[in-house]
């Protein structure tokens, strides 16, 4: 620690602090333009100049100068003010000063500082910039005339996003921020550059001319896409969510968002939202009143109480904890059926079955903070970046800044494989469990296993045949590669396994979760900081849905069994809260037929989804922006979702819907969602003692008591079919589930599904980028646009699942790999 004096205030700061950090620590504000707490110091703008007693004769940039013992710093003298004014005059010389039409006005560091330093005239004159404005993409507008060359966009894109879209081009007065070959922006469109731009050079186009910054109501909430649980601030006005506002002090991610979080909010006020309840009359869905719709639903469920086995319910893991609790209470409690499930039944199995068996709790032992504390990260599938981009940013930061040894086992290469020093083992599709078994076996063979691990004898016995040599053939890797990875993982001081799960990853089930858990347990990597296994649920409240028991507990039917029972007529009443099985569950034709046959189906959703179109009653539900409650993210963090706008049209939150039904059926009612949370805190052990008020801005991490046990699982070789390609499904970078299709942002960037092939296979099949191809499996065939690249290995096709048109579940059946033929249409 070092002691120094800033503006007559004594302050003690860590040895690696700069003068700027020290000033911040004692509440002295130093103006900055190019500095950002998330990025490496840059020292470009010269706004943060200060005077240091010991370094007299020149002004010192505080953001790049380390604080040293005994420093006496002045941050505001006449000379400093003069220097800062000069900086602003020079910046304003070329700047267009078009604040009246600039969306950054009110939230612009240059404007605010110009005002603060009263720069009302300029001693210099020069021509203004005359750069062409980039309107080429629908999300980010680049007006380089307003740019002040702070370089934050280029630095965040490199340091955190690891994409590198921006660079300084040219030199001297000609210099500007540009892209490769000075072309249009062609990137991931995460908008990180927009969020850190201190002026209006980079703008969010969907927000352009929508509202002045100061007129927005700002509401802190949690993103409703993936399971990461990024905090965000919604900017709303006149009952509409108009933008997400960057707040660098929010969450573990310091306000950093991905393209879904930043540009995916438009689904909230989409004109495709359901505006009124619908009831099927004469074969057509027609608008109806809430009374009529709810009466139909309650009378049906009331009748179902006498035959609970004929009632089933599916919920999406997007609902709040409070709504899921009520859902469980209504169906398992009041109606008395155990036929409840979510995420196709398999997308949560890694937690509900795998983690439950291996750790004794249906949750990950590790938390998000462990990612950056690890020495070695073992990521299952490069898709971890696509499924959870902000966790991807954490991985980028850890690898680039802290030199974390990144190992990836994947069926294809991806962005993560390009990080410095990253080692990717590309294995045969579907061989993950066999690979982890072989890694465990190799750890044991090399004498690196923890001797007292529970279940070691059984595991050793079960792994008799899982030698790296034998697994090598199954995985398409060499025994040496497997042995080396096992050794590195075991000998790393802190090693963490990252496993994404979800509807697109049918192979990431309980077996893989337990096999991965075995490796962590066997090497003593459980219960320690920076170690363990992080299972990443797909949806914003995947962990909450598991915690609140939205899956069959005893004799009930799982999601897939419910679909089958609908087809057989055993389930007569199906309640679907936000799920879209038609597009997201395996085997679309089977699902459609089953849902067509079920006697009575109710769907509550924001949109008239493919599933809702088959319903007898459709209830318009609320988005996360129209309600309050809590989500539990991966890493078990419970966070507060706060209502930003009133429900749209006649929409009601699932809380209101479920509460009304439950009370009509005599199951009691809750005064508000807060009362439900109190009930959760009282009855769900992990949530004990929590209050919504107590969650605050940070949220609370649920405790887990890990009882680690090695669980032998079979890792069988996937059958192969000569002349066919292995289709693996997954997540597209811009999408999550099927809801992102209603966000304009994600849809502009990735509007349709695609089939991704390697260059060699494409050449063999005479397929070029963009060609329409037919992908055929035993279950059916689907037309998709071809994407040709270097990501997937030969013999493999990748397709994302989110899309309704040409949905990939038309041809998949829930197995890890689907064997297909691909031909030009």
């Amino acid at each position: 620690m070092v002691n120094l004096t800033i503006d007559d205030k004594q302050v003690t700061v860590p040895r690696d602090a700069t003068i700027y950090d020290a000033a911040k620590a004692c509440g002295v504000k130093i103006p900055i333009l190019c500095h950002d707490k998330k990025l490496h110091p840059f020292g470009g703008c010269r706004m943060c100049l200060v005077e240091v007693e010991q370094m007299k004769g020149r002004l010192i940039p505080s953001c790049t100068t380390p604080a040293t013992e005994g420093m006496i710093v002045k941050t505001m003298t006449d000379e400093i003010v003069k220097a800062r004014k000069l900086v602003l005059e020079l910046l304003l010389l070329k700047h267009p000063i078009d604040c009246p039409v600039c969306d950054a006005a009110g939230d612009c560091d240059l404007q605010n500082l110009t005002y603060e330093y009263k720069v009302n005239s300029n001693r210099f004159t020069d021509e203004k910039f005359n750069h062409a404005i980039d309107y080429d993409n629908p999300l980010i507008e680049r007006d380089m005339n307003r740019c002040i060359h702070c370089g934050k966009c280029a630095r965040i894109c490199d340091e955190i996003v690891a994409f590198g879209a921006y660079t300084f081009i040219n030199r001297g007065i000609e210099a500007k921020m540009g892209t490769e070959f000075d072309g249009p922006l062609n990137c991931e469109f995460c908008g990180s550059c927009v969020s850190v731009c201190p002026v209006g050079a980079l703008n969010s186009r969907p927000f352009k001319f929508k509202a002045r910054w100061w007129a927005l109501t700002k509401t802190k909430s949690v993103c409703s896409y993936c399971g990461t649980g990024c905090q965000l601030t919604l900017g709303s006005k006149d009952g509409k969510v108009l933008t997400t506002i960057y707040d660098e002090n929010q969450g573990f991610h310091n306000g950093q968002l991905c393209t879904r979080g930043r540009f995916g909010y438009q689904f909230i006020n989409s004109d495709k939202r359901l505006t009124s309840p619908l009831i099927r009359k004469n074969g057509k869905l027609q608008p109806a009143s809430w009374e009529e719709a709810l009466e139909m639903v309650t009378s049906r469920l009331r009748a179902g109480k006498s035959d609970p086995a004929s009632v089933a319910a599916l919920a999406t893991a997007r609902l709040t904890n409070e709504e899921l609790f009520l859902f469980e209470k209504l169906f398992r409690g009041t109606v008395g059926t155990d036929n409840i499930d979510h995420s196709a039944g398999f997308a949560h199995e890694a937690l509900t079955v795998g983690a439950k068996a291996s750790f004794g709790v249906a949750a990950s032992p590790s938390v998000i903070a462990d990612v950056q504390k690890a020495n070695l990260l073992l990521v299952v599938k490069t898709d971890a970046y696509e499924t959870h981009p902000v966790i991807g940013f954490e991985i980028n930061l850890g690898v680039k800044r802290k030199g974390i040894d990144l190992r990836i086992v994947s069926d294809k290469k991806g962005k993560l494989s390009r990080l410095p020093g990253a080692k990717t083992l590309v294995h045969t599709p579907g061989a993950e469990t066999a690979l982890f078994n072989a890694l465990c076996r190799s750890v044991i063979d090399q004498g690196l296993a923890v001797e007292d691990a529970a279940g070691l004898a059984e595991l050793k016995k079960a792994l008799t045949d899982a030698t790296p040599e034998k697994a090598a053939a199954v995985c398409g890797l060499s025994a040496a590669e497997i042995t080396a990875l096992a050794k590195d993982f075991a000998s790393a001081e802190k090693a963490l396994i990252i496993l994404p799960i979800g509807l697109g990853y049918p192979g990431h089930g309980s077996a893989l979760a337990s096999a991965a858990a075995n490796l962590a347990i066997l090497t003593g990597k459980i219960g320690k900081e920076g170690c363990g296994l992080l299972i990443m649920g797909e949806k914003n409240n995947s962990q909450g849905a598991v915690d609140l028991g939205i899956y069959p507990k005893s004799t009930g039917l799982s999601a897939q069994a419910i679909i089958e029972a609908c087809a057989l007529g055993n389930v007569k009443t199906l309640f679907v809260a936000g799920e879209n099985p038609v597009v997201s569950y395996p085997n679309r034709a089977k699902v459609e037929k089953a849902l067509d046959q079920v006697e009575f189906m109710v769907v509550s959703d924001l949109f008239l989804t493919e599933t809702a179109q088959l319903a007898d009653v459709v209830l318009p539900a609320c988005s996360f922006a129209e309600k309050s409650g809590t989500f539990t993210s991966l890493g078990r963090r419970v966070q507060m979702v706060r209502q930003a706008i009133k429900p749209l049209a006649l929409a009601k939150s699932d809380f209101e819907i479920l509460n009304a039904i439950n009370s009509a059926l005599g199951g009691g009612s809750f005064a508000n969602q807060g009362a439900v949370f109190a009930e959760i805190a009282a009855s769900v052990p992990a949530y004990q003692g929590l209050t919504q008020a107590g969650l605050g801005d940070e949220g609370a991490v649920l405790p887990v008591a890990i009882a680690a046990k090695l669980v032998p699982v079979a890792g069988e070789a996937q059958p192969t079919f000569a002349g066919k390609l292995a289709l693996v499904t997954g997540s597209a970078l811009y999408h999550n589930g099927t809801m992102s299709r209603f966000g304009e942002g994600p849809m502009y960037v990735c509007p349709d599904g695609y089939a991704e092939l390697c260059v060699a296979d494409a050449a063999l099949l005479k397929i070029a980028e963009g060609d329409l191809v037919t992908v055929t499996s035993g279950a059916g065939s689907v037309s998709l646009a071809a994407k040709v690249g270097k990501r997937v290995p030969q013999g493999v096709v990748f397709a994302p699942y989110h899309f309704g048109e040409g949905s990939i579940n038309t041809i998949t059946d829930g197995s890890a790999v689907t064997w297909v033929t691909v031909g030009k249409k």
Binding site: D158, G164, T167, I169, G178, F181, D182, G183, N186
Partner: protein, 167 residues
Amino acid sequence: MSSAPAEEIPAEEIDLSEANHIIDKYLTLPGNLMPVLQGIQDSYGFVPRPTIDLVAERLNVYPSQIYGVLTFYSQFHMKPRGRYIIRVCVGTACHVQGAERIVDTFFGRLGIGHAETSADLRYTFEKVACLGACGMAPLAMVNDDTFGKMTVQKVDEIVETYNQRPM
């Protein structure tokens, strides 16, 4: 990934083997981007677009970053250059000795302006700030050959001479 207008991409295929060879040579050297780009420029006469993509891929550097480096240093060129690079000094000493007349005469004889390349790729003409031989002012250079005490007559001689040289 990138998206330059089609006309910037040379119609004929570029042989990347030389670029690969240069990259191999510097692959493990820290800070290898500069020597690799210089090597490519020496070998190809300019830095062709496909070699930029290749360097980005093989050195794992963002294409944007390479573009930033290429536009920062005036030594790099992304368009084909002439076989003979004529440079005329317009620094202080040459300027007072009438360098502008030499420049104007070259413009007239070659039909190209500053930093331009003739259509037949024989000449590229550049005005430069100082060539470091003020005693010989006014000074011109063609590739590595130096011509001191330049006169308008000498411009004609130089053009005549290099018109005869092989491409």
